[in-house]
């Protein structure tokens, strides 16, 4: 079973067309999983970033003066919670 320890989901809101283009260039990085796509200025782009790519990506965003927020700090923690909730609901159902 694939796990996602340390994966973060970053939310980036491009401020202008330049940032929009820079973020669009990231789509070529196959290790990034775009949860929502690059659409327009001021609309959020959510990207799941594996742990091994986090440092590099964050440094890149900072160097380009692109702000981001961490939408999900550790994806696996959320998936574990989701799994526990499902198992708990199944037990209650039984």
């Amino acid at each position: 079973k694939e796990t996602f320890e340390g994966h973060q989901v970053l939310r980036i809101v491009p401020k202008d067309e330049v940032q929009l283009a820079l973020i669009k260039d990231l789509e070529d990085m196959s290790e990034l999983d775009f949860w929502t796509d690059v659409t327009d200025v001021a609309y959020p782009v959510d990207i799941r970033v594996p742990f091994d790519s986090l440092m590099v990506l964050k440094a890149h965003l900072m160097s380009q003066d692109i702000d981001y927020t961490i939408m999900i700090d550790d994806l696996q923690v959320m998936l574990d919670e989701e799994q526990q909730e499902m198992e708990s609901a199944a037990r209650l159902g039984q």
Binding site: K1, F4, V9, R11, S30, W35, D37, P44, E82, A89
Partner: protein, 308 residues
């Protein structure tokens, strides 16, 4: 659960549980609901479609599908809620009753069952269909596999990409089965494909900037639908053509359906809290389904009242 009345719609369910739910719903409502199997997934799972019909032959119909992208769990969960909502409201809600007295509704709750099973068993973040092993990248984005600008910009030829379009249009049995069904039916008047998340309601096209000939009507209807949706919880949606609202995407579902002559072709992106993405907590399922239902009713009503 022993009946659909005790089914917990506020929790996520796996493929077997949803299949059981569908069978129970059919057994409980034999004069309204039947189950069609329109094909098989790549791994041999049945492609189940619920048909809600009060009779007649080949009546004009509305198609709704959820879960073509397997990790978008709130869509399959919402589809399950819609199914129960239809049987509950039929005979009570005049608008839905009028629709069902003149039209059929087809609902495919798990449009990509292999992918959905895989999200429960191996990889919660899986989005595509499944294919045999041989490379690290097994599967096709079924929302890039339709014969509508297939192979154009906004889809990938790289099998490892999340937007891999597949080797040819309709190569995916999950897609081809719907294509065959739509063509053989020949009287589908509205086609609504439901995704998550990011709160949008869109109409064709995605593969070209050319406006559809019905753009004015589709735009006005989308505006009304999201306005009605927002009355429940104030959830705000964007709306417009796919290419203007989200991105250029070739081979998309509703571009194909529109080109087949299904005027009321729409695609939703459901609720986005800005905190969870695809891991939307299960306590959001019912609010999401409830507000979406309002928009669906607006589109279905308009379809009924504007025959073409």
């Amino acid at each position: 659960p022993r009946s659909t009345d005790t089914f917990d719609f506020s929790r996520y369910h796996n493929l077997n549980e949803i299949s059981s739910f569908q069978d129970m719903l059919v057994a409980e409502n034999p004069s309204l609901v039947s189950k069609l199997v329109i094909g098989q997934s790549y791994q041999g799972r049945p492609l189940n479609v619920l048909k809600f019909s009060t009779g007649g032959t080949n009546r004009p119909a509305i198609w709704i599908d959820t879960g073509i992208h397997s990790r978008e769990w709130v869509t399959q969960a919402s589809g399950t809620w819609f199914a129960k909502k239809i049987v509950t409201d039929f005979g009570k809600d005049p608008a839905l009753t009028t629709i069902l007295n003149k039209m059929d509704i087809f609902l495919e709750i798990v449009t990509n069952p292999d992918g959905f099973y895989y999200t429960h068993s191996n990889n919660r973040m899986w989005r595509k269909t499944r294919k045999p092993s041989g490379s690290g990248c097994y599967g096709v984005d079924p929302n890039r596999n339709w014969d509508a600008g297939f192979g154009g910009p906004g889809a990938s030829s790289n099998p490892c990409s999340e937007t891999y379009r597949g080797p040819r249009a309709h190569s995916e049995s999950e897609v081809k089965s719907i294509v065959d069904f739509v063509r053989s039916h020949g009287n589908i008047k509205a086609f609504i494909s439901i995704h998550a998340y990011s709160q949008m309601l869109m109409y064709p096209y995605g593969y070209t900037r050319t406006a559809v000939k019905d753009q004015a009507e589709l735009h006005a209807l989308a505006q009304r639908a999201i306005s009605d949706l927002s009355t429940l919880y104030g959830t705000r949606y964007r709306y417009g053509s796919i290419i203007n609202t989200i991105y250029q995407a070739s081979g998309g579902t509703i571009d194909w359906t529109y080109n087949q002559g299904i005027k009321y072709s729409y695609t939703f992106e459901l609720r986005d809290t800005g905190r969870y993405g695809f891991i939307l907590p299960s306590n959001q399922i019912i609010p999401t389904a409830k507000e979406t239902w309002l928009a669906l009713m607006t589109i279905m009503n308009h379809t009924l009242n504007n025959p073409y």
